[in-house]
Symmetry: C2
Amino acid sequence: MEIIECIINISEGQNKENVEHVIDAVRQTAGCFLLDFSSDADHNRTVITFIGNRQSLPVAIRELYKRALDRIDLRQHKGEHPRMGAVDVVPFVPIQDATMEDCIALSKQVGAMIANEFKVPVYLYEESQANPDRKNLAKIRKGEFEGLPAKMKQPEWKPDFGPAEPHVSAGASVVGARMPLVAFNVNLGTPDIKIADTIARNVRGIGGGLQFVKAMGVELKERKIVQISMNMVNYKKSPLFRVFEMIKSEAARYGVPVVGSEIIGLLPQDALFETAEFYLRCENYTPACVLENKINGVLYQAIK
Amino acid sequence: MEIIECIINISEGQNKENVEHVIDAVRQTAGCFLLDFSSDADHNRTVITFIGNRQSLPVAIRELYKRALDRIDLRQHKGEHPRMGAVDVVPFVPIQDATMEDCIALSKQVGAMIANEFKVPVYLYEESQANPDRKNLAKIRKGEFEGLPAKMKQPEWKPDFGPAEPHVSAGASVVGARMPLVAFNVNLGTPDIKIADTIARNVRGIGGGLQFVKAMGVELKERKIVQISMNMVNYKKSPLFRVFEMIKSEAARYGVPVVGSEIIGLLPQDALFETAEFYLRCENYTPACVLENKINGVLYQAIK
């Protein structure tokens, strides 16, 4: 069964009634299933996580835009989190029986729909964006809602879809396909933050380490230890076990042990299966070896 | 969603029409789903793997018995595999939202039903059997169909359910709850079978090693290496990573490297998740960390 995850960020995290009204767009769409949502009042922002397929997701997103544009006015919006749209970011993540290419095509279809129906300019990002200078969300969003009118006058910031000016109350949206994010932290048996900082700099992509790892050193003061806190933006190409072994080896150079690790939020099963495969030196592992994958395949077939 | 796996062994592996007729009992039962079946003509035996719940499994099994008893006559049966019943073994394995206790209760309910409706004597085995001398399948089945009339006269082989004599054409059945089996082999970088035999003896339960591991040494002649071939009969209590590390350490004593491993057939996802958890020294892993578990939970809820 095709499963694509969509993690929509809307610029409303204070008015519960508005948040529920927007989320109901997902709940009411056949073939879409709400996994989770979390509102942050300080950020004044809500992250809505749901799944569906190429047919059902555009239906839910159209209704969600209708409701969000009706209730959210960025001219009145204050919050700590950077934002440029009432519906700020719309990422698509391939989960099952869907490829990255499927998600790229879907993001372009949805981007065009948003621009045409709601007159909201759309920027493609990450895997959906061919221009390397426009792949990064922070770069696209720099200047935020308030800076949009000036930014959009620059030819290099012409949107991928829709009008050349921001929507008066809803700004602009960023839409695209990306890999699932894995937040993974490794704890070191030392209180010395300098060691964590150094190792973080060495293992992360920008420091010459693993390309799809973002890392920084963090103090865990209560436990009197330090941590390498990481975002794994492509766990297939820069896997957990490889960064873990690299940190072990770097820490050993200071005589420091790795005392533990933490998974933050959810991670795809493959990230753990491939870790087991690596350490067991398994010669014939495939996802088809897993009993539950077989069972879910049969059950999904029955649902169809 | 409650999922219990049932892996029925019937004593027919040659007549395809008979095999299909019996398997149709599973296919036709609402709430049961056929995962797999495989017939072996030399063994004259078919293994039928399906899933269902406490409501649907007894319905499928009743119909399966009706069909099997109609088509299989052990007085005419020849095959290499030991057998004592037309329907030889009926194991129940807890997979999801079902405990071992649930499967034990189900096995007793199904055992009583088989005895009452089909007049087939039933022996409980494994987790369903309180008497330690009657837990082991090979021990119960010793003497096979032909030896049953004499064996059943012994007071210690009075069946748990049903008549005191074998069914004239269908013999007796063995029914019970057990853990999923994991078949896991570890390859050593040496052609010396004595090393594999010694390590196998040391890591397996009966040799003083890990209690729920059965192991033997095997030569892989084409590759000119040897293998520790294992059945992990309780991967929760004797996990893959522990036996793997033990074999690594024992092999190192001979200067021999572990060059790989193999998973045979299917294994439960937990066996791999817990391996990853061990090697990553993860402090907060639970099955709820896995995205697909969250997704399947939401989808199953929707099916209900």
